[in-house]
Subunit: 357 residues, 2 copies
DNA sequence: TTGAAAGCGTTACCAC
DNA sequence: GTGGTAACGCTTTCAA
């Protein structure tokens, strides 16, 4: 039982293997890193090393390697603690692409207070922890923060904001066009866009989706109508008092002619429409088509809402590619990558009702 | 302009500061680590060091520190790539609690194929990358994987599975009880539990929620009725053909007496009920109360569904606490921590209709 | 083929 | 108060 001795040993390093096999540290690491053949190390020696590593339960120390290579193998995702937009698909795209490059994603959430305080930098930026940074704050990034980050001489890219360089974001303008074009194609003439009001400055997509819709309607020679709901509530108390269903209902009841199709800014607006329409005995998709922007065709909704999918999986993958490019050529700026939005047909959209056609 | 020289220098280390200030490396690190007073270093010397660090843009190298201290400051979250259950609240709880301990969360998603292959361990387990591991696979963890992980002599805990030791999970049994008790309290006598069938072996909560419901009904001297839907679809094509709304509707139309309240296993079941009920002109909450299990009172649903909240934020925080305990006393097993489920009242539940009362 | 040795940046102990 | 120095575990170059 040769391995009885080492069973409980705390740390197994390359040196442990060297001692165990009676070889030198260099030989061991050569074999361990697959450079055995290159270094013309005897086959049986190689096997001896590998076997020892297995028996001893050797696991290379990532910190030590990082110290030597200057690469941590980590990418940090930085975002605010509260207002984070982090759909699973995005996370999946990020980790998947990083995994393919033998890297990890480190989550570094930052309290809003810290983000806004010019003087204070979060720990992840004060240390040298990651080979690159991905900034995923949706709401306006304070310029002071952006500035602080860019002076850091660590490669940085941004996610889901509209910037000309070093950024990955979905093509919401063409997404808006696509939504309208799809409905026009189905024969709809009265297509309503339902957005959310107070948020025009909040995120570029509020503008872009709407503008895309307008552009497509104009191209089709159709009138565009935009209806903005009050911003959706943020606390549990507010949401209980929320009257958006009522507001949509009043609007639709008064609308003449009543729209036969609706483009909703996102899930919250689509749900307001859905509930209002249910109360009014309007059936989807027979009487009304409903499409919305979302990050996937959500299976949990049972009756899936036709979705303009903002391709968060691709956004994640592209972000990694862009960041790796930046890590490869430090200091260079790359043009932003705009990810197309795709239509995923659900069960809430169809041809225009006969009545009108 | 003294800092003109160092502007573009690639790496700034403690040695750079030492050279810049003309002090020794030791003095510099003493000051940098706040041991200045303790080491009785002159005030102006300290300021000189701090100023230099600021000017030079010094950021300590985490790998070097990790190498020395033996602690990486990272915790790895391991889960399958596809079937991941990762609500934002959980992530928030994890990163928040880790942040308070100056640690980071590293995401290591693992392809299912790898998880199931006995021989192959994912990179994150083959290396020494993190101080502890959190395993978050919902569906049955292959025993071979669990075994491989526990022989790793890195502290490991599990999340959202039902194990007696080293695990954090929500108290779904008492959650089920709470759901029923709440509705009984409101005067309901005919309370239906709607679950999902094929998944009884899939996750303990399928059993526990249902059993909790049964127990509470029995205690109240009321009959319990369980209706199981076919498992919810996984692909976009299947979801379009999904007939669960129809199934719920048929069931409710035939039910005598018709339930006045429903406990849904989770969002997918609640949505099936919601759509069916809408089609049948049954109003929530006047004619029917609906509650479901979920990780938060979801604001995007506009009409929020009364929720049995499985406290993912607390689960995340507790998980970190437990893991830090394990890191503190390696080798020890701790009893699992069961996080209570809380009722968040939405707009879909209320007193039993007068008719019956 | 194998071994010796330097160095990555940090910390910490021990002299001065 | 301050400075030298060893050690953490790994990689890599150069000799033997």
């Amino acid at each position: 039982m040769t391995d009885g001795i080492v069973q409980k040993t705390a740390r197994v390093t390359a040196a442990t293997i060297a001692a165990y096999t009676g070889l030198s540290r260099a030989t061991v690491t050569h074999v361990l890193n697959g450079r055995g053949a290159e270094q013309r190390i005897r086959q049986d020696t190689q096997e001896r090393v590998l076997e020892a590593a297995r028996v001893l339960g050797y696991r290379p120390n990532a910190s030590a390697r990082a110290l030597h290579t200057g690469r941590t193998g980590n990418v940090a995702l930085i975002q605010s603690l509260k207002g984070a937009y982090l759909p699973e698909r995005l996370l999946l795209g990020l980790t998947e692409a990083l995994g393919e490059n033998n890297m990890y994603l480190t989550l570094a959430e930052v309290p809003d207070a810290v983000l806004d305080d010019r003087a204070y930098l979060p720990k992840v930026l004060r240390e040298h922890t990651a080979d690159g940074l991905i900034i995923n704050r949706i709401v306006g990034i304070p310029p002071s923060f952006t500035e602080a980050v860019t002076t850091l001489n660590t490669p940085v890219i941004f996610l889901n904001v509209n910037r000309p360089f070093d950024t990955v974001f979905p093509d919401d303008f063409n997404g808006g066009k696509l939504a309208a074009q799809y409905l026009v194609e189905l024969g709809h003439k009265h297509i309503l866009y339902v957005g959310s009001s107070a948020s025009v400055e909040y995120h570029y997509s509020h503008v872009d989706r709407q503008e895309g819709y307008r552009a497509a309607m104009e191209e089709a020679g159709l009138p565009s109508t935009v209806f903005l709901l009050p911003p959706h509530p943020e606390t549990d108390e507010q949401v209980l008092k929320d009257a958006r269903v009522q507001i949509v209902r009043s609007y639709l009841e008064a609308a003449a002619p009543r729209p036969t199709a609706i483009v909703a800014y996102e899930l919250a607006e689509a749900m307001a429409v859905l509930h209002a329409v249910n109360q009014m005995q309007i059936r989807l998709p027979q009487d009304l088509s409903l499409v919305m922007f979302h990050h996937q065709l959500d299976h949990r909704f049972c009756i899936p809402i036709t979705t303009l999918c903002n391709g968060m999986h691709s956004v994640g993958r592209e972000a990694v590619n862009l960041l790796l490019d930046k890590i490869g050529s430090p200091g260079t700026s790359f043009p932003s990558r705009v990810v197309p939005i795709q239509l995923l047909e659900g069960a809430t959209s169809g041809p225009v009702p006969n009545l009108v056609r």
